[in-house]
């Protein structure tokens, strides 16, 4: 069981309170209060470890006021492992029950322990949500004013819910797809053109790279097209792509929300399903998941049955952009009209995984794409996992700030590589478009643009 007192004290001591983290912290920027800064939070954690502070409700709330964006870890010259500290503190807050209320406990158990640990159940719920959204029921209910019956926080969240896609990942991607033998058409209503779009491997490929793609939870339901695009770009670069049709959640949501026990359990299930020894790389395309998936080695380091496998897993885990750059991806050749694209960095991709140059390298390689940087591309958009649900006011201010920077670039498309950011930006930009009457800027993932560019080669 994780607790601040059992933690290696030197991790806490590593913070020498120089204050260089303060300007990188979105919550400190909001209030200018030390408690809302990384240095301040670490001081509180240390006070608990030292027995100078009881684990109070205020402490618990503070740990969840933090976005967990990890911008402080990029700013910290001393190399403090804030991610581990925050996870440990949140885990201890959960064990202590200082924040427990019947509603919170029910929602947490239902979501973290029941829904997100059962991929089939999650998909069933996704299917129902899709029916609700597409059958006209949602529109009817909205018109009839039924939404007003919902509790206020649900009423606020309802329009922000992700738009569920008709097909989930397993309906778009075969368990094994190989660039050599074009995959057979899946009976999912895709045209022959789509099937042919799967390009042949580059002639220089000596040996087939064998990779496995992780499909995620929210990504699987709302952005299965991104998963499809991920497979497409890997195929186009000579990889044999394995995509197990039913995958457990990676546990990132659990670890980031103090449920370390379930997080460990989910990591073990992942390792049972996918043996890292079988693959050249394990590919993640979501910033938040990838950041956690990389840490399996550490998460299970004290589990004798899994430690070795988990370490091997961590060594092979790659973000999709990182991997494409590592293997020297083939730049698409089709010509295309000029489009201005800006890039918003998922916190857990740039700060958690230190992957920042690679997505830009991919965007720059796209024919016709002009990459225009937005201000504060590394500043959190306020999505931060479920932060926009738990701290709506701060999340909304950060969203507004981000949308302003994106609009200022005049870009047609904003690319980002995490489902939370994707939704937060799409909601913010749609709201702006609704208010101003201007067309909404498209939000998408860099690999979707890359897949489109490869597809355009076949077409034209």
């Amino acid at each position: 069981m994780k607790s601040l007192r059992d933690l290696d004290y030197s991790v806490l001591q590593q913070c020498m309170h120089c204050g260089l983290c303060l300007p990188s912290c979105p919550t400190y920027e909001e209030t200018k209060r030390e408690r809302h800064s990384p240095r301040g939070r670490i001081a509180l954690m240390r006070a608990i470890a030292d027995g100078e502070l009881e684990l109070t409700k205020t402490f618990g709330e503070e740990m969840y006021y933090c976005l967990g964006c990890l911008a402080c870890t990029s700013a910290c010259p001393a190399g403090v492992n804030y991610a581990e500290l925050l996870e440990t503190a949140r885990s201890e807050v959960e064990q202590s029950g200082v924040l427990a209320t019947p509603t919170r406990s029910f929602i947490r158990t239902a979501m973290l322990r029941v829904v997100f640990t059962r991929p089939r159940l999650l998909r069933a719920i996704g299917r129902l949500l899709w029916l609700w959204q597409t059958s006209g029921l949602q529109t009817l209910a909205r018109r009839a004013g039924l939404m007003n019956l919902l509790p206020s926080n649900l009423r606020r969240l309802e329009p922000q819910a992700p738009k569920i896609l008709e097909k989930f990942s397993h309906q778009l991607i075969q368990p094994i797809e190989s660039p050599v033998a074009p995959r057979a058409a899946l009976d999912v209503g895709r045209s022959m053109l789509d099937v042919e779009r799967c390009p042949a491997p580059p002639p220089s490929t000596v040996r087939l790279r064998r990779v496995v793609v992780l499909t995620g939870c929210v990504q699987d339901l709302a952005f299965a097209d991104i998963n499809r695009a991920t497979v497409d770009v890997l195929l186009a670069n000579g990889c044999e792509v394995h995509t197990p049709p039913v995958q457990p959640c990676c546990g990132s949501l659990h670890a980031h929300n103090g449920d370390n026990v379930t997080a460990r359990d989910l990591a073990r299930r992942q390792l049972d399903l996918i043996n890292p020894a079988d693959f050249d790389a394990i590919i993640s395309n979501a910033g938040g998941c990838g950041s956690h998936l990389r840490a399996y080695g550490h998460l299970l380091h004290d589990d004798p049955a899994y430690a070795q496998k988990a370490a091997a897993w961590s060594a092979k885990l790659r973000d999709i952009h990182e991997y494409l750059v590592e293997i020297g991806f083939r730049p698409p050749t089709a010509t295309a009209p000029t489009t201005t694209v800006t890039y918003h960095e998922s916190c857990h991709l740039c700060h958690g995984q230190k992957v920042s140059a690679q997505p830009r390298a991919i965007l720059r390689a796209l024919p016709g794409v002009k990459l225009r940087e937005c201000a504060e591309s590394q500043w959190c958009c306020g999505s931060a996992g479920i932060y926009n649900i738990t701290q709506p006011e701060t999340a909304a201010r950060l969203q507004e700030r981000k949308v302003g920077h994106v609009l200022a670039t005049g870009a047609h498309i904003v690319a980002t590589a995490n489902p939370g950011c994707h939704l937060q930006l799409a909601n913010g930009l749609a709201q702006h478009a609704g208010n101003s009457g201007a067309p909404a800027i498209e939000v998408t993932h860099p690999v979707v643009l890359l897949a489109r560019a490869y597809a355009a080669e076949k077409l034209g």
Binding site: C18, G19, K32, R35, T56, C76, A78, G79
Partner: protein, 457 residues
């Protein structure tokens, strides 16, 4: 105390008066290692009138007052006292005026130094003092500690750019000292009295700063050396050649490896020491100076000299240097920074002395600093929980101070006396000068209300 807090809350509102343990614990320290003390409350004034109100209340209730900005100080200057009110000026952070006709800038004390630099830069002007922590330090804190930085050699320290101050005195009166006049000799120079007063004489609430035209060109060089001596000799050679670069920074091998681990800017890890040199001014002069400096480096045994290709690379190198102190925490949990300064002719000898002291007390001491102005930061890498080692640390600090004073140096070049250096102040100043300090303090703060126990007891 409850009554005092009630009255403060009544005026400022609950969100500007913090008393909960979770709120005040993070104000128990600043950037200095091993010092920690809880205040009674932390308040966030909006202006000088609020500060005045708080000081009058504090006098009525007999409460000590400690002023604070971002808490990045390295001499314990803003560490609280038991039962004190912490006046945190972090929310008074506006830049009030950039006067391009008079080349001045007026800001509230809580304004971040970097923002001041940027506001000046946007107007084509230049605010030269650049404390290593300028990304987060406040201008009020810079004035209170008379902070130096990476450009001290050519441009001096904060004091050299302060034209005026708004100060709240211990009795609550608010006064302006100085003006926009380049020449102003009316009365005693009281403004300078408050610069470097470390919060013991009054509370600085506004600052009027002098700006310079932005230099037309800049060139940054990075020279690597295989021995500390050759780096030190190169510095002497540059100064002897009558070249005054704006920056002449020194980093030893231990520090440079930590910095590189953080910043990843391609510093030569095998070098025993590196010099970061920057020259600025007219493009032709800069080109000539840079060439001359490069030759001097090579003549004195530099193993490599690299010129920053562009402004971005120059900024990266300077930023890496700024992280030196914090990056050293990668090696040991407690990093105790010294701030001694010696006349520049004594640098090589001082470096050797620090080395000998480290060996004598079996301690790891990494050294970096501003070679060009003689300001060294020997930083002791230790663990505050190791009591035996901490005792040796104290002995080593005393030895470093002795070695400094023997060379005609000073115990602090830019971080102030605070709590950390006060044991050595009388030795440096001599009895008469030391008593003069006390006399000034007694005149301005007869009750000893403001930051008591800092600089001297």
């Amino acid at each position: 105390m409850a009554d005092l807090i009630d009255q403060l809350t009544q005026r400022l509102g609950t969100h500007r008066v913090l008393t909960a343990r979770e709120d005040i614990l993070p104000y128990g320290f600043d950037g200095t290692a091993t010092l920690k003390q809880l205040p009674a409350c932390v308040i966030f004034p909006r202006d000088a009138a609020d500060v005045s109100f708080a000081l009058i209340l504090a006098r009525e209730h007999g409460a000590p007052v400690v002023t604070r900005g971002s808490g990045t100080g390295l001499s314990g200057g803003s560490v609280p006292l038991p039962g004190c009110i912490v006046l945190c000026l972090a929310q008074m952070d506006r830049i009030l005026e950039v006067d391009t006709a008079n080349l001045t800038l007026r800001a509230e004390a809580g304004a971040i130094t970097q923002k001041i630099y940027e506001a000046a830069d946007a107007a084509g002007l230049f605010y030269p003092p650049d404390p290593g922590s300028m990304k987060i330090s406040t201008i009020g804190g810079n004035v209170a500690e008379n902070s130096g930085g990476l450009r001290g050699l050519k441009y001096g320290v904060t004091r050299d750019y302060v034209m005026g101050l708004e100060v709240v005195l211990a009795d609550g009166s608010i006064c302006w000292l100085g003006s926009k006049c380049v020449k102003d000799v009316a009365g005693y120079n009281l403004r300078d009295l408050f610069i470097g007063s470390e919060g013991t004489l009054g509370v600085v609430t506004q600052v009027l700063l002098k700006l310079l035209p932005r230099p037309a060109a800049r060139q940054t060089l990075l020279a690597a050396f295989l021995s500390m001596e050759s780096a030190a000799e190169t510095v002497s050679a540059i100064i002897a050649a009558r070249i005054i670069p704006c920056t002449l920074e020194f980093i030893d091998q231990t520090t440079l490896r930590c910095v590189e681990d953080f910043a990843k800017v391609g510093l030569p890890r095998e070098a025993a020491a590196i010099l970061l040199i920057e020259t600025d001014g007219h493009p032709a002069a800069v080109a000539e100076e840079a060439a001359h400096i490069e030759k001097l480096c090579r003549d004195h045994g530099a193993s490599s000299v690299r010129r920053a290709a562009n402004a971005t690379e120059a900024t990266q190198l300077a930023t890496a240097r700024r992280s030196a102190f914090s990056a050293l925490a990668r090696l040991r949990p407690t990093t105790i920074l010294e701030d001694v300064t010696v006349p520049r002719s004594e640098l090589a000898g001082m470096i050797r002395a620090i080395d000998a002291i480290a060996q004598k007390h079996a301690l790891a001491i990494a050294t970096f600093g501003h070679f060009g102005d003689g300001n060294l930061h020997p930083t002791i890498l230790t663990d505050e929980r190791d009591h035996a080692e901490m005792h040796r640390v104290e002995l080593a600090i005393a030895d470093i101070v002795t070695a400094t004073l023997e060379r005609g140096g000073t115990i602090t070049g830019e971080h102030g006396v605070g709590l950390a250096k006060k044991a050595f102040l009388r030795r440096q100043l001599g009895d008469a000068s030391f008593e003069l300090l006390r006399l000034v303090k007694r005149a301005l703060d007869p009750d000893g209300r403001l930051n008591p126990g800092k600089i001297f007891d």
